[in-house]
Symmetry: C2
Subunit: 229 residues, 2 copies
Amino acid sequence: MNLACSTCPVNETAACAVLTTEERDAMAAAGRTRTLKRGEMLFAAGDEDAACATLLTGALKVSAVDQDGNEQILSLVHPAGFIGELFAPFAHHDVVALTDSRLCTFAKRDIERAIEDYPALARALLRRSQADLLASRTLLELTGHASAEARLAALLHDFAFAASDSSCHLAKRFDLPLTRGEIGNMLGLTIETVSRKLGELEETGAIQREGKRGILIRDPELLHDISGR
Amino acid sequence: MNLACSTCPVNETAACAVLTTEERDAMAAAGRTRTLKRGEMLFAAGDEDAACATLLTGALKVSAVDQDGNEQILSLVHPAGFIGELFAPFAHHDVVALTDSRLCTFAKRDIERAIEDYPALARALLRRSQADLLASRTLLELTGHASAEARLAALLHDFAFAASDSSCHLAKRFDLPLTRGEIGNMLGLTIETVSRKLGELEETGAIQREGKRGILIRDPELLHDISGR
DNA sequence: CGCATACTTGACGTCATTCAAACCGTGTGG
DNA sequence: CCACACGGTTTGAATGACGTCAAGTATGCG
């Protein structure tokens, strides 16, 4: 299936937004859209010809699995995010859809050629890569020293921020994009600890659980306070 | 002090190696070399005009300090490494010299102009950024689930690898570039735990401590085994 | 309805932290 | 030269936070 950039939901924000219409059309000729169902894998660690992609809708996780079978989530990818290890001969991590998702995929060599041909694209990807690096280090900071409660509070705070359209305010109410197990895998905790600490955050009045996945922020100030940032 | 790229110890490996001699000379005119003593800071989190730099000799750490004063080391920088958050209005982390170091610094706006002018530089920095991202995620993977002993074993393994000139073999013997406290800050452990687990690794025969900072790898296989990768 | 998947809750165990004290190598000044 | 202070390190004992194991409760889907 061919690409129609003009109707792309992220044509203003994705990396390719820096290209001219002509350049973008040229790239579109090499790309394909793809849909993934929840749980479906885009590529696995070790794949040699892992594709690159821009996420259009949905959400992905980047994760590693150690030899005991424990998953560690390294990053979440939101729409307009770019996936793909550009200069690596093979993928280091798994990429899996958290929800039904739509992506715009390219063969790695096509992206590499585009980077040569369109300097603006290289700069856009550099910007994105630096942002990803910052996100990774932020998560590292969190999982390094903080208590289970602080980690959870920080994650909820981030989710509330991401769920809000305004870039300066938290969403009052949102659905967790991750299961308890995935939250645990992301923060280095167990399912049970996540469940317990969520309960405690509710008891203290910072949040309120609404069903399985719904979260209502009762006291953003307190939540931020607990997160220790 | 002006730059003499021709005598630069990393002129083959740093990002600027992709430039032509003329281009490099043009950049050199805007840059300055700088030396840092052990413990000296290149810039601090929050600095608005944090410089960018290529490390020539020595070693740096990138770290964050939470509001209780706990430091978390997010990354180590080795010669030819690039430091600087290119598109951020201010620095998010501290950068401090671990040993006496020499760097080649540039004002951020000069780098940003160079990225516009020299597409090859943008690609080189993109490559480096992706490598940094991978390193950050690898550390994240480590601190996420692994036991104290596994974290330490993995770090020692990495150091032994970095200390070797050959890219396929471990160094038998090397000096720790970090104090116990810094190792702890990097792995999310306390000084005491680091010390204890080093002792245990010695008892099991994986390593041998030689003085305060010296490490002799007795059984690389065992070490790798303990690290769980 | 029955089974599967996700979540919650409790009791118990373990590993890393905390607190405290001693140790060692190095540099400094008497 | 010795005494001493200082930073980094080691070691021990007690505590506590999180993990493990196990049971039980929704929620959803064939």
